[in-house]
Symmetry: C2
Subunit: 237 residues, 2 copies
């Protein structure tokens, strides 16, 4: 937790912050070992960042005086990430990685090789997803929550969402065996599509290429989804 | 397990493979759901890769006929990674990520902000480290085991190891706040140094720069060690 992400509710009218939830409180006490007088980095969800001084901490609450709130969060990556739904534990970690890296638009997509049972996982509940996004923001010192969209059919995605997503973006499909390597340091708005373990099926790749995406690969090594997504984002931007 | 990594012991004199250990056996049965007639990718530890046909699988053994063994493993990354020892769970995942990405030389280093207790972790036992390296190789379809060296003192590392490591390599210290961004697509032998959570202390950075390393950063976001290392390797190579 390199930033304390604040709900508007955590702020009082007179420029103080009061935190009472066990997760942040435990972290402040047991990991940071914060003590009165400490100056900590804070940020308002979807707002500015600044500093707050800890006045008082008990097992029930941490009370801060807000010292400043005038810093902009770090710039986002210019990417909409479309990710074939990974298995639940991998999803959790991948959401944290990509949020920390600055992704702000995420679509989780069904493809042929996504196990249908993954769509029933409790990890897809809005509160669980929110939790992982918050952990990513707190890690990276960011305040801008990503949006996560669930797209449970590949064909409806192709027909109803993809054309809009591609209208202002360069579409890139990461897929082993494509002729071109992943481009480097592109500064343009991008739609990045990443398949499931086992990859997109050939028909899916054909449809994405026909819709205007470019295929590209990360080399001969087969990477886990969480490793591949981090490697792709770091190389692209 | 995208490749079955073989010990020389797994190979018979007459061109067959016999696997009896529960880990690989369970994976073949429960994850791959392999059946006789399946052609699987195999590779000999530190040797060639090829194909083998499953002849027979029981709860006690899997028996294959080796069909070919003439493929070279994918090329390694030209990097020696010096990583401040992360906490044990992070270490395990990071070893898997970097092995999958093709790192072949790893030094785990003590620095001021590494908790001393981490050096007592069972994750540092040779057999545990070996296990994570094998998982990384099996994931990426590689056979070349990385070497892992433990360097439990920063000063002895500086005095006795660093000069040799830098004699044929470009030294890069990843550290927030350095003036230059991480370079991209460098094809030269590199020594990459990555600090612990909380970073190197200023004295350590000064010593590394004085020894001939260049400082560089990955941007304003604070990343977890496992995310940062993957992002650095993907951007550098």
């Amino acid at each position: 937790m390199n930033l304390i992400l604040l709900d508007p509710n955590d702020l009082t009218d007179d420029g103080h912050i009061c935190i009472t939830d066990p997760r942040r409180l435990t972290h402040l006490r047991d990991v940071h070992r914060s003590a009165p007088g400490d100056l900590l980095t804070v940020g308002v969800t979807n707002g500015a960042m600044g500093k707050a001084m800890l006045k008082d901490i008990t097992s029930e609450r941490a009370y801060f005086k807000l010292e400043s709130l005038d810093e902009a969060p770090p710039p986002p990556l210019p990417v909409h990430l479309v990710l074939a739904l990974p298995r639940p534990r991998m999803l959790a970690r991948t959401l944290e990685h990509v949020t920390a890296l600055g992704v702000k638009e995420i679509t989780l997509l069904h493809t042929k090789r996504v196990e249908k049972s993954y769509w029933q996982s409790p990890e897809l509940r809005a509160d669980k997803i929110h939790q992982h996004l918050v952990l990513g923001l707190e890690q990276a010192r960011d305040t801008q929550l990503p949006t996560v969209t669930l797209s449970k059919g590949f064909r409806p995605f192709l027909d109803q969402q993809l054309p809009d997503l591609l209208s202002q973006r360069r579409g890139l499909v990461a897929h082993p065996g494509m002729p071109n390597p992943c481009p480097r340091d592109i500064a343009v708005p991008t739609l990045l599509l990443v398949g499931p373990e086992g990859g997109f099926i050939p028909w899916e790749v054909d449809q994405l290429l026909a819709a205007g995406c470019e295929g590209m690969h990360l080399g001969p090594r087969i990477l886990r989804v969480e490793t591949a997504v981090t490697a792709l984002l770091s190389r692209l931007f």
